[in-house]
Amino acid sequence: MIELELLKTALLLGGLILLGGCYGILYGIGKLANWRALRLAGFACYGLQCVIALAVVGLSPLTTPWKLVVIIGTLGFFGIPPITWRFVELTHEAEGHT
């Protein structure tokens, strides 16, 4: 039944963003503590996020344009933590903050 599939998709989408948040947090803490395992755990979260995105593409009744939006959004998530981190470091370094 397509309605029930859509409701399951909603939970998948929530999980998708939540894992993106876990990726960002673990990546950040890993960088701060210079702890490689945490950064890897962050990337693992991103990997799970990709799996969920693929599940949405493969299993959900969303139409193709919406699946594309989910894929583009998931790809966007990958770049945000490292780019943000680098930018924050640069702005702080430029101002003499550590």
Binding site: L6, L7, L13, E95, H97
Partner: protein, 464 residues
């Protein structure tokens, strides 16, 4: 302390008092779901709900104004322009809020005519306040704008944060004028009403809290102006870039043209991305300062703002933002869950953080810490997460039973309301509401006593 800062303390005090009224009205609203006969005929559910959501708007607005009145003289180095008018209007504002609340509680209903709209209730969610009171709000906001702009002119100085704030005040006031509209066509009415509700909450308020957080971070952590201003510009660009047309996610099922499905869904889908950037930045700030600050409660509440915003607006919002899913989820407790979490994360945590920051300065405490604020922080957040979780489960049950299985008939609506998941969740929501209310009491205790209590370690050192 500047007079403007004394006024800020009054505004923040009034905001926290209204936060309490909102909590009580929310508890009542939650209890009606368990016992529909509660206060039947005396104070029905709709009145409690009006009090709950209207005080939410007003306490946050007063909190924002208090924060700006606090930082404004520090930013410009002079007393604000029009301070006398601002002081008088504070009491007018409080008086108006009290009278409107009394009208809602004791008069409750007006006729469906102009007189009813002018004196009792305009009948539009979040902006129910009668027209005379809405005119009062416009006057207060205009004087507030004059305070900000006039001070910048008098000081012959402009900072990046203040420029963003001044630009933001224009749509903030203009959009509120929408509160006066009275359309006979419901689709037309909702179309413009969302301009007010969405573009305030996901547009102008986001910018306003961004300015306040920028000022708070400079004051709390000594972060340089260049850093906070750079981030403010980026945040404003990203939030407005996705948020303005994200307005479309409210236009899905209210009789607007079909293209809003694509526009609203597309832009809303990217709204979590800037929020993730804020989370990463918060982790950086928390880490570089090693959670060490002279004002720990303010620091923790401001950090909670970034995380709560991401989860409440980002995670909860994304679940229901695509039009196909929203068809089943809109108007259920699922939306209510998102609303609770998003308002809490995006705004309430920030305002509470500013309250602690101001308290630290007012009490002249070299170090603000203790146990009470931790308990308040924990219980308020656990209560809120519990409520949002219970509402999510009940909303999912509603979407499942009433919308997906039942086809949105009246019979299906009743079946949804009576489903075990819905009923159990309503009890859970009320219980977590009580936890939240307990957290509010602890917060008040901490506000009253913080900086006046002697920390245990200090007392021990003195004794030895």
């Amino acid at each position: 302390m500047y007079r403007s800062q004394q006024l800020a303390v009054k505004y923040l005090t009034a905001a926290i008092a209204l936060f309490g009224v909102m909590t009580i009205a929310g508890l009542m609203s939650a209890y009606y779901y368990i016992n529909p006969n509660f206060l039947f005929g005396l104070l029905d559910f709709n009145i409690a709900k009006i009090l709950h959501i209207d005080t939410l708007i007003i306490w946050l607005l007063m909190g924002f104004m208090g924060a700006i009145y606090w930082f404004l003289p520090e930013e410009f180095g002079i007393e604000i322009a029009g301070i006398r008018a601002a002081e008088v209007l504070f009491y007018v504002f409080c008086g108006v809020v009290a009278v409107v609340a009394a009208v809602f509680i004791f008069v409750q209903y007006g006729g469906s005519d102009a007189l009813g709209m002018w004196l009792v209730n305009q009948g539009r969610k979040y902006v129910e306040a009668p027209r005379w009171a809405a005119i009062g709000v416009v006057i207060v906001m205009l004087v507030f704008a004059y305070n900000v702009i006039g001070t910048a002119i008098r000081a012959k100085k402009m900072t990046g944060i203040m420029a963003v704030l001044i630009i933001d005040l224009v749509p903030l006031i203009i959009l509120y004028l929408n509160a006066f509209a009275a359309y006979r066509n419901m689709s037309e009415d909702l179309y413009w009403w969302w301009w007010l509700v969405h573009l305030w909450v996901e547009g102008t308020w986001e910018v306003l809290i961004g300015c306040i957080m920028a000022l708070a971070l400079m004051s709390l952590l000594g972060t340089s102006r260049r850093i906070v201003e750079t981030w403010l510009y980026i945040e404003v660009a990203l939030v407005m870039g996705t948020g303005i047309l994200g307005l479309g996610h409210h236009y899905f099922w209210i009789g607007t043209p079909q293209y809003w499905l694509a526009v609203g869904g597309f832009f809303s889908a990217f709204e979590p991305l800037p929020l993730l950037g804020m989370v990463v930045h918060a982790v950086y700030d928390a880490g570089t300062h090693r959670m060490k600050t002279t004002n720990r409660p303010a620091f923790f509440w401001i950090m909670a703002e970034a995380f709560g915003n991401f989860i409440g607006a980002g995670v909860w919002g994304f679940m229901i933002t695509l039009p196909q899913i929203n068809l089943y989820a809109h108007g259920t407790q699922w939306t209510v869950s998102h609303g609770h979490f998003a308002f809490w994360g995006a705004y309430a945590c920030g305002v509470i953080g500013v309250c602690y920051l101001v308290l630290g300065k007012v009490r002249g405490a070299a170090m603000l810490d203790g146990i009470a604020w931790r308990w308040a922080f924990a219980t308020l957040n656990i209560g809120l997460i519990g409520m949002a979780g219970a509402l999510l489960i009940s909303g999912f049950g509603q979407a499942f039973v009433e919308r997906a299985l039942g086809g949105s008939t009246l019979e299906a609506f009743i079946a949804g309301q009576e489903s075990p998941s819905f009923v159990a969740s309503m009890y859970a929501r009320f219980l977590f509401g009580l936890v939240f209310a307990g957290g509010y009491v602890l917060l008040i205790y901490d506000f009253v006593t913080l900086g006046r209590r002697v920390p245990a370690r200090v007392a021990q050192a003195v004794a030895s």
